[in-house]
Point group: D2
Chain length 242, copies 4
Amino acid sequence: MRILVFNENHHERTRPEIRERYPLGIHGTLAAALGERLGPEAEIEVATQDQPEHGLGPDQLDGTDVLVWWSHLLHAEMDDDTVRRVRQRVLAGMGLVVLHSGAGSKLFTSLMGSSCDRRWRHGDDRQLVWTVKPGHPIAAGVPQPLVIEHDEMYGEPFDLPEPDELVFISWFSGGEVLRSGACYTRGAGRIFYFSPGDQECPVYHQSGVQQVIANAVRWAVPTGPVVSPFRGTSAPEGWWAA
Amino acid sequence: MRILVFNENHHERTRPEIRERYPLGIHGTLAAALGERLGPEAEIEVATQDQPEHGLGPDQLDGTDVLVWWSHLLHAEMDDDTVRRVRQRVLAGMGLVVLHSGAGSKLFTSLMGSSCDRRWRHGDDRQLVWTVKPGHPIAAGVPQPLVIEHDEMYGEPFDLPEPDELVFISWFSGGEVLRSGACYTRGAGRIFYFSPGDQECPVYHQSGVQQVIANAVRWAVPTGPVVSPFRGTSAPEGWWAA
Amino acid sequence: MRILVFNENHHERTRPEIRERYPLGIHGTLAAALGERLGPEAEIEVATQDQPEHGLGPDQLDGTDVLVWWSHLLHAEMDDDTVRRVRQRVLAGMGLVVLHSGAGSKLFTSLMGSSCDRRWRHGDDRQLVWTVKPGHPIAAGVPQPLVIEHDEMYGEPFDLPEPDELVFISWFSGGEVLRSGACYTRGAGRIFYFSPGDQECPVYHQSGVQQVIANAVRWAVPTGPVVSPFRGTSAPEGWWAA
Amino acid sequence: MRILVFNENHHERTRPEIRERYPLGIHGTLAAALGERLGPEAEIEVATQDQPEHGLGPDQLDGTDVLVWWSHLLHAEMDDDTVRRVRQRVLAGMGLVVLHSGAGSKLFTSLMGSSCDRRWRHGDDRQLVWTVKPGHPIAAGVPQPLVIEHDEMYGEPFDLPEPDELVFISWFSGGEVLRSGACYTRGAGRIFYFSPGDQECPVYHQSGVQQVIANAVRWAVPTGPVVSPFRGTSAPEGWWAA
């Protein structure tokens, strides 16, 4: 199983206090955490938006089983062809775990089909992440509730399609709620969105958060070769009804 | 369109402060509110658990299009045959709107298939009901959020099946969240669960709450005769494939 | 309630046998059928792809409650800005009913987030449309099964997201099945996809098919003003948690 | 992982031609197939309805991770307390895979909340099982379509709740369709229904069918201890919002 962690890597390079919080970059912190939790069967690589082809060239993508995605400010600067290539690979079966403001990325909105707009407040809310589907594999071993002492608020109404399975709902001290952990399938690819994780807060150093992301990666691993099982082509044979 | 409002009618008869809050009984308050909001096309009747056959005899049920249900303490005392009859009519197409602790009734749990257990606290929480599906007819005209100053807390994990459509999520001042408005279909019947409404609080006098319940009744009205469209019988003909 | 019926209007203009089948164009046949079934409260207009702005300019769209869509060969020639404008209006609450090969349109695929590819055979299959959710308003009054003597085959796997509600499944004489009637919400807009209707077959003259489309239009009517209820903007106030 | 295969074991004991088809009983055939496909990590046991407590006593159930269920004629004779015990264990997290006419069992209908009635014909249909969700783990390695040369017809409308995920739809030569593979969660337990498998046909000897059932067992394995995570009790603390 080969995991690729993508990060916009903008805040870490431009703002010292964020570099201090994430000296390895958010991608580095996530890669280390996944390596530890998924064990030696997982081969973990990283990609950042400032790399050629955003680190998401065909060579990189072709071997990836699950892509973990963090992005925020530079959505508009993502190259459309690269987004299209990533999207095609998701539809063909690659797993995708989208974090926090990645909700607004071209990749995620184009897979959801809705705006993914939401209420937000750049304050300092307490966030409690409640598991609403305790038997789901992505909730395994996650504290009930998972307490995040400081995070940005993302609130309903959140323009998400009805999830296939809703796993987490967040409470914010300011009075809002959010469907914060939701499962989808698009094409043959399994997609999980998880909202905690503002760059201003050390959320990804937190054990329960790492547990959710590691669970989600395992859940999203494709069950066969990543080749689209959908064919928009003629099916003249009809042997199956003979 | 004929609406039947069922109420356990226990608290109102045994505790003066609740009778004072609901002098007409919860059923009477709901019936009056629905009458006002649904207009003359709606014929509204009431039933209480202390009546013969709990007010839910065949004559009463046979003409009912949507049943609104409130119950709490006396679930165990509901007659099984009556519950079975009501359940059969829901499966045949009658709409059902279940309120608050009706979640634990034999009728609702037998239609959901799960325990419908949930966390609760008999305190004095502030509840904010957020609309998460703003285009849904049950959310039409409902304040965003709908603020309920005092209510009992029901919290996740709430043992509900994944809803067909999730319309509301509640925030509680004590730190909990709840899927508080959820749509289901069972058989041909459309079912809506709405959680606000403890007897200790004047919730059903509130305009936004009445609006939700009236919307839900309209949404749940059967679209044809209430006769089960499912046939567990032999289908030998096969003319349709000829 | 104002309904707009959009048609690519290509086959009718270029192939005599199709003009003969649909002398008013598919849009004209659908408009007439909807007018008859929805009654005087429905104001029905038509738009065709060969008109300026494809007949979908702001003036036309701004008053539309539900858009009915048929397209097939000229998807690539649809103007992107027009598609974007229609899509924004759906997300803001306008209803959308997409027919047959409209599944492959830029509009529909961009709202679904998947390829909407499917198996197909341009032959002469018998299609039986089975209602799997008999209590759903879109199934009201529809024959069980709805028999379509001749139609193009569209078959699974059909790259659709998991529907919010699945209403119809089709059987084809050649051995295939299809999720042929499926409900979605994107933004505040309600979307229904219905697969029967190849231009080679007189499907839209058939009563049961017209019934489904009229039901779907009624179901998709927005319940309030068509203005996006989602705000991707700051929510600093927090008065609701005070 | 401990798997328990339950079988009514009535036809095999009373009708020689069925004993000949399934000399080990349907349970024995399934147990052998699962043993081969799941490997040594799976410990597989069997239970039959004619055993004391139907082979489903507390000792047997307490260690079971996934229960595979086949039943048909003797639903009414199942002991209610035993059904209740099994149901409680599913709600607490045990996986459940229900086959064919098990749809009508007390266990399954009580978990679904609907009648699970369906159209049927005891003939000799050809059944094609189409995968509609090719990325789903239960579809891994399953032929597209899976061809079953002879089987009883179960057809829509099938009174099932809207599935969390629909994986298979079947086509029958007589003209019917069926949602034949569907995923649910009830409580913390994951449930999969799979329709092929009449006793009159050697369906469970077929490789593709065995593959589906083995996949489903793996999918349904609980991700933690089987103890209900739902608490219908007071939650007075509220420390999480402090």
